[in-house]
């Protein structure tokens, strides 16, 4: 019997190694897998690269991970927020590396990794400093910038319900990066509000099919 359900967030993240690249779902706190991030803080892995839309809010989720000194680099679209003081202080002290990526390019680079795409051309950021040094091509009279996929060792995402095969449904705008990050990581861990029986989720409504999910943990 296949079961991807694990007993606790701590077990779910126990094998994450130093230097790992970790995607963390969420847009602000909506869809942030806080229990998984807290469990990651509790284990020893450091020197991490985090891929997430923001650089944390207050002192919870990604911000707490940053505060614990575990993160070497963050790849995100919008680090600076009213309550991003943990990131701001680390950045100004030169203690964290930042790669700013336009939000759509971030989503598409993650999606490309998950879909086996080697690279893609996008018009976003053409002519701006975020395209500096990147290959540019004119296609049918429009200028495009070459962007490469972002792969991860682990994706930590949050969903509303999951079954033991890893099928997931999300809740409202908490869905955000979950489905694409699930595709792009070697190991996808889903924190769910509740685990349901196989067959309980409407197959017409499953957003992330279980093939893309490796561990499910209720928290």
């Amino acid at each position: 019997m296949v079961s991807k359900v694990v007993g606790s967030p701590e077990i779910a993240v126990a094998d994450i190694r130093d230097g790992a690249t970790i995607m963390v779902g969420g847009f602000g706190m909506a869809g942030m897998p806080t229990a998984l991030v807290d469990a990651l803080i509790g284990q020893r892995a450091r020197d991490l690269t985090i891929v997430s839309n923001n650089a944390g809010n207050g002192e919870t989720g990604v911000a707490a991970l940053l505060k614990a000194g575990r993160v070497r680099k963050i790849i995100c679209s919008f680090p600076r927020q009213a309550d991003s003081y943990v990131f701001d202080a680390l950045y100004r002290a030169g203690k964290i590396e930042l790669e700013v990526v336009p939000q759509g390019t971030l989503a598409e680079r993650i999606r490309a990794a998950g879909a086996g795409i080697g690279a893609f051309f996008t018009p976003t950021a053409y002519g701006t400093m975020l395209a500096a040094g990147k290959e540019v091509r004119e296609i049918n009279g429009r200028h495009y910038v070459l962007e490469y996929p972002i792969h991860a060792d682990v994706a930590l995402i949050k969903a509303r319900e999951g079954d033991r095969w890893g099928n997931l449904v999300y809740r409202k705008t908490g869905r955000n990066f979950g489905p694409v990050m699930a595709m792009a990581a070697a190991c996808t861990v889903a924190q769910v509000d509740r685990v349901v029986e196989v067959g309980a989720l409407d197959p017409e409504s499953i957003v992330t099919p279980g093939i893309l999910v490796h561990r499910v943990v209720a928290a």
Binding site: P102, G104, G178
Partner: protein, 217 residues
């Protein structure tokens, strides 16, 4: 000098949004446009964090932390609304499916270059969000901003001095003094606040196209 208020600016933008339009409203001043959409028109608001059919702010106590807009403020979903993931959301934006996007700006050039994400100050922490995607992806990009900086300098310029968000991407500019279309031969005056002459407007704006006629009002 007579000026339109922020709400009058928002109402002026809203007047130009037709029935059936799919619209993304940027953070800040553009969010006010939602309050002025004519109730007799069905207009679909998209928020890039993954919803279409965005409704107004919830009543106090009704906020849902999983139902937020791009500014991370609590919102509601109207009947017929939908949720989707970030790749789908930005495919809508980058794939040319959004009819109108309304963005704030630091500067816009006469050619329609947009600068709205970074002041160029090296001490600023860079944060771009979806601005560059919206700038190149929406079919029509409206900019909504004050006509002058707090120091009284024009924000509509020959060339942007702030770092660009997008090249030749702005179609129309709504300020507290005027509405200007970015035309193939330069800026065209669409509307101007009561009591302001074109000469006065021109003094605080990069050149307006010479062929521009007095707006019919």
């Amino acid at each position: 000098m007579n000026r339109w208020t922020r709400d009058q600016m928002a109402a002026r933008v809203a007047r130009d949004i037709p029935e059936g339009a799919y619209v993304n409203l940027g953070i800040g001043l553009p969010t006010l446009v939602a309050n002025h959409l004519p109730p007799d028109r069905e207009i679909f608001l998209q928020s890039e964090n993954g919803l279409l059919g965005m409704g107004p702010a919830p009543a106090p106590g009704e906020e849902d932390p999983d139902l937020i807009n791009a500014g991370k403020q609590p919102v509601t979903l109207l009947p017929g609304g939908a949720f989707f993931d970030h790749a789908d959301s930005f495919a809508m934006i980058r794939g040319g499916h959004i009819d109108i996007c309304v963005l704030g700006a630091f500067q816009v050039s006469v050619a329609g270059d947009l600068a709205n994400w970074h002041t160029g100050d090296p001490d600023t922490i860079p944060a771009v969000g979806g601005a560059m995607d919206l700038a190149v992806g929406a079919r029509r990009v409206f900019v909504m901003m004050e006509h002058l900086t707090k120091k009284g300098e024009p924000k509509i310029v020959e060339r942007c001095t702030y770092p660009l968000t997008g090249v030749r991407c702005v179609h129309r500019i709504y300020t507290d003094l005027a509405v200007l279309e970015v035309g193939p031969s330069g800026l065209e005056l669409i509307d101007v606040v009561d009591g302001l002459s074109i000469e006065e407007l021109a003094r605080c704006t990069a050149p307006i196209a010479s062929g521009s006629s007095t707006p019919g009002r």
